[in-house]
C-alpha cells in the first residue's frame, strides 16, 4: 500500500491524459470525412464525385443514334474509323438538345491538321502539300469529308 501513498499527482496526470484523448476522438470524429478509409487512405466519396462530372464529348455511339445516314456514308470510306468528335469536337450539349446547332466546320483548317505533308508522319498516311495539291481550292470541292475518296458521278 505504501507504493500508492503519494500517487494523487499521478491520477491527476492520468485524468488529464484521458480528457485529452477523448477530446482528440471527438474532434477526429467531426473533422475526418465519413468515407475516409473506405477503400484506402483517402476520401472514398471523392471517386463518386469525380465520376459524376458531365461529359462534353457525347461519344460516337450517341451521334449515330440520330445520324445513321452519315454512319452509312462513313462506313464505306477511309474515314470509317474516325470518330465524329475528332472533327466535330465536343457536342454533348447538341446531343442533349438537338436545337443547339453546332458551329460550321472549316475544312481548310481541319483537313490540313491531319493531312499536311511532313516527313515526320508515318509513311503510309495520306499527306498532301495543300498549295500544290488543290491550287487554293477548298478541300470539300472534290472530297466529301465523311467519305473522302473522289466520287465519280452523283455527289451530294
Amino acid at each position: 500500500m505504501n507504493y500508492f501513498k503519494d500517487s494523487a499527482h499521478l491520477f491527476r496526470f492520468f485524468f488529464l491524459f484521458v480528457v485529452a484523448f477523448v477530446v482528440f476522438l471527438v474532434v477526429r470524429h467531426f473533422v475526418v470525412p465519413k468515407s475516409f478509409g473506405e477503400y484506402g487512405h483517402y476520401r472514398g466519396a471523392a471517386i463518386a464525385e469525380i465520376a459524376a462530372r458531365p461529359a462534353r464529348f457525347a461519344g460516337h455511339e450517341t451521334c449515330e443514334t440520330c445520324h445513321a445516314d452519315v454512319l452509312e456514308t462513313k462506313k464505306a470510306g477511309k474515314h470509317a474509323n474516325v470518330n465524329c468528335g475528332a472533327c466535330h469536337g465536343p457536342l454533348a450539349n447538341h446531343a442533349a438538345d438537338p436545337s443547339i446547332q453546332p458551329a460550321k466546320l472549316d475544312t481548310a483548317v481541319l483537313c490540313i491538321r491531319c493531312h499536311a505533308a511532313s516527313a515526320a508522319k508515318p509513311k503510309g498516311f495520306p499527306q498532301v502539300d495543300a498549295g500544290q495539291h488543290s491550287g487554293g481550292l477548298a478541300c470539300e470541292t472534290c472530297h466529301q469529308p465523311h467519305s473522302p475518296a473522289i466520287q465519280t458521278g452523283d455527289t451530294k
Binding site: 475516409f36 478509409g37 473506405e38 477503400y39 484506402g40 487512405h41 483517402y42 476520401r43 471523392a46 471517386i47 463518386a48 464525385e49 469525380i50 465520376a51 459524376a52 462530372r53 458531365p54 461529359a55 462534353r56 464529348f57 461519344g59 460516337h60 474515314h79 474509323n81 474516325v82 470518330n83 468528335g85 475528332a86 472533327c87 469536337g89 465536343p90 491538321r113 491531319c114 499536311a116 505533308a117 511532313s118 516527313a119 515526320a120 508522319k121 508515318p122 498516311f125
Partner: protein
C-alpha cells in the same frame, strides 16, 4: 448453438478480420459499373500517331485544362544515327496545334503522345501527406481536389512530369483517364477524338479486350520501366531513345 471456449478462441481472429469489412460498409451501389471489374490502362500505337494534336485539344475541351498546362501532350522525336542517345524533342504548346512540317533527312522522326501512366505503384500517391491522391480500385490515379493542400510533392514525385498545380484552384491537377466518361461506358476524350486509333483505352480485367491479343503479338513497352512504377500506358514500337 453451443460454442465451447476452444472454438470461440479459434473464431476470434476470423471475426476480427470480418469486423474490418463491417466497419467499412458496403460500397456504393452503381447500376452498371462495378469498380472491382475493371483495371484501366491505355495502349499507344506509335506507328499510327500522326501528331495532329487532336488528343491535346480534346483533353483541354473535356477537362477545362488551363492554357499552358497539359494532362496529355504530344512530343516529336528526331533521332539521328550519329547521336542516338540525344534525340531532339519538341512539343510546341504540347502539340496542341500540330507540328511544323519537316523535310526528309537522315534522321528518324516519330511522335510520342504522353499522359499519366496510371501507375499501379505510383510514386505520386505515396508522397501525398494528406491522402488527397490515390489509386482507385479500378486502377485510375485521381486527385481529391477538395482535400489537396497544393504542396506540390506529387508534382515533383511523378517521374513522367504528368502533374501540375492548377493556376487558379492552386491544387494538384492531372489526367483522370476521363474517369467521368469511362465509368459511364464511354472512352476517354483523347481516344474518342484520335483519328488514327493510335490511342486506345484498354481494360486489363476484361478478358475480351483486344489489348490481350495485342500485348502478346507486339513489341510493347512502358516508359521508364527501371523505375518500377507499374506504369499502365503501353507503347507499341517505342524507340529506345524515348525517355
Amino acid at each position: 448453438m453451443n460454442i465451447d471456449r476452444r472454438h470461440f478462441l479459434v473464431m476470434l481472429p476470423a471475426a476480427a478480420i470480418a469486423w474490418k469489412y463491417v466497419l467499412a460498409g458496403t460500397p456504393e451501389a452503381s447500376p452498371n459499373y462495378a469498380m472491382t471489374d475493371h483495371w484501366w490502362s491505355m495502349l499507344i500505337d506509335i506507328p499510327k500517331c500522326i501528331g495532329c494534336g487532336n488528343c491535346v485539344r480534346a483533353c483541354a475541351a473535356e477537362n477545362d485544362v488551363p492554357n499552358g498546362h497539359f494532362r496529355t501532350w504530344v512530343e516529336r522525336y528526331h533521332v539521328t544515327d550519329w547521336d542516338m542517345t540525344n534525340p531532339e524533342v519538341i512539343s510546341p504548346d504540347g502539340g496542341k496545334e500540330g507540328f511544323p512540317a519537316v523535310q526528309e533527312d537522315a534522321g528518324k522522326y516519330f511522335f510520342v503522345p504522353k499522359l499519366c501512366n496510371h501507375c499501379a505503384d505510383s510514386p505520386c500517391t505515396q508522397v501525398c501527406p494528406v491522402g488527397a491522391t490515390f489509386i482507385t480500385p479500378d486502377g485510375v490515379v485521381l486527385v481529391d481536389q477538395t482535400y489537396c493542400l497544393g504542396c506540390g510533392y506529387c508534382v515533383q514525385a511523378c517521374p513522367y512530369g504528368c502533374r501540375y498545380i492548377h493556376p487558379e484552384k492552386k491544387v494538384a491537377d492531372k489526367c483522370t483517364l476521363c474517369y467521368h466518361r469511362i465509368t459511364k461506358g464511354l472512352t476517354t476524350a483523347c481516344c474518342e477524338s484520335c483519328p488514327t486509333g493510335a490511342r486506345q483505352l484498354a481494360d486489363l480485367k476484361d478478358p475480351n479486350d483486344p489489348i490481350h491479343a495485342f500485348l502478346k503479338t507486339h513489341h510493347v513497352q512502358v516508359l521508364k520501366p527501371q523505375m518500377a512504377t507499374g506504369a499502365k500506358v503501353f507503347y507499341n514500337e517505342l524507340d529506345g531513345a524515348v525517355r
